[in-house]
Amino acid sequence: MSSHVYPKEKEIFPGLQLEKVDDRIMTLNVGPQHPGSGHMRIILKVDGDYIVHCDPDPGYVHRGEEKMAEYRNYITNIPHLERPVIHDSCNILYPYCLGVEELLGLEVPERAKYIRVIAAELNRCVYTQYWLAIYGIFLGHSTMFMWPMGDRELVIDLLDKMTGARVTHAYFVPGGVRNDLPPNFEDVCLRQVNYFEKRLKEYADIFYDNPILISRTKDTGILSREDAIKLGTTGSVLRASGVDFDIRKKEPYDVYEELDFQTNVLKEGDSYARSKIPWLDMFESCRIIRDALKKMPKSGSVRVKLKPNPKGGDTEVYRRVESGRGSLGMHIISRGKPQPYRLKISVGSFRNLIAMPHLLTGEMLGNMPAVYWSLNYWPVEADR
């Protein structure tokens, strides 16, 4: 780490890093078919083992969600909007529902707010487990691939009972949730979440305290606090660099204000810290779910009746939530039609993309997977 051939340039913007032009430089395409890159290409220029230039090239799974949303009604937008990140589908629908509720002036029933929080936190666990499994296999740790994949089924099972689908739940609707919880859900949920949390603790022994993992991720790809703020990173990347910013705490939506949890912040800013934050967040998710189950009203309505094809006024809203990959905002412009005039989705993955050239330039090629996947980047979500 200390003996970089090419030190990082002062200039932090992508596309502007100076490179030494001679016959030693080789261009290397990582992706888009490579299983590790995950539907995106990273164009690297390498000098021996050192990366001297990095140009991320997303867009291989661009679906035009924003354009599609302009043609569909506020309700029919729901199933396709969750597609960018099906493992975290509740969290990507959350800002949309909050925004449409603000547009239409809907008041969500109290019980629905708690159900939403529980679903969102379960979804965060599903997403993070999937991400963690891939991080494990990226670093050649196949047990860490299988454990989270297996334990994830516990949470998927709960979401299946709640929503009727394993992934792509389309559970949130403006004005509440689609259906009420099944009978006896609270007991099953509590039991499974407690067991899930017990399993999470075991990850420390096999993965987070593993000297091989520590040697591969500690002190690689260090993002300083100043750069994390300047580059506008979000979520676990930001919190691993010592910035205490979680939308659930800073701008609480629904009932997060009344629930008991804390924000995890680490100061190191390296790949190890970035990989640890989502794992620590899952413990907080378990805490939130237990607390929400305790405080949730035991009965009541879960959905406000909507008029067919509701129309928004001549206004705009910007709402954001904390998803598994950081802040997820939606800017909805309404012009008195049943469809949004414009829907801009700002996702954490896309915002964290800018950190990739910044961190990979000057890094060793062998550290590329450890740094890349620690950015909590989900290519499909970034492309929208």
Partner: protein
């Protein structure tokens, strides 16, 4: 239980809901720049419309004096009837804890041409990349999706669309999805 009347929407503009901080933020901008239009002040949300000649000065003021330090989102909106394309920067703050709830929307408009030639027509805006480095990729996306060229941005390249995309920028209103 249901209340979908359009009268409900007006409530969010109620000035009693907005805090003193919201007002002082918008006042300090309007005091400094006389041409700036404060579009609305909602709770934790302020929108400022500026002319494109002034946006660099206003953005620098927002960063240095009001302590907004990063862009949450940069979205372009097409208004064919006004013959304009609007770009909205949603700015937030990590460093100032009192502003962590706040989003300041900074909007500006560029002229729109009926036959777009992205990069070679009059749809040009100054880039805010030197003030907020976080807008870098967002502006690139805006360039390819709406054809707004950002002057001063070194990287006005394709990002998400296919390399052989030969149609007009797809988020313009005159680009129609087939069958819709």
């Amino acid at each position: 239980m249901s209340s979908t009347d359009s009268t409900e929407i007006v409530k969010t503009d109620d000035s009693s809901l907005t805090s003193d901080l919201d007002k002082s933020l918008s006042d300090s901008i309007s005091k400094k720049f006389s041409n700036v239009e404060i579009a609305y002040v909602k709770p934790d949300r302020i929108r400022v419309n500026v002319k494109k000649e002034e946006i660099i000065a206003v953005a620098s003021f927002i960063r240095d004096e009001l302590h907004f330090d990063h862009a949450e989102s940069v979205g372009g909106v097409d208004y064919p009837e006004d013959k304009q394309i609007e770009v909205v920067y949603h700015l937030g703050s990590y460093t100032d804890p009192s502003l962590s709830k706040h989003i300041l929307a900074l909007a500006t408009r560029a002229p729109r041409e009926d036959v777009p030639r992205p990069g070679n027509d009059s749809t040009i805006l100054p880039s805010l990349r030197d003030i907020f480095p976080s807008v870098s990729f967002h502006e690139r996306e805006c360039f390819e999706m709406l054809g707004v060229y950002f002057d001063g941005h070194p990287d006005n390249r394709r990002l998400l669309l296919p390399e052989d995309w030969a149609d007009i920028p797809p988020l313009r209103k005159d680009f129609r999805i087939k069958g819709r």
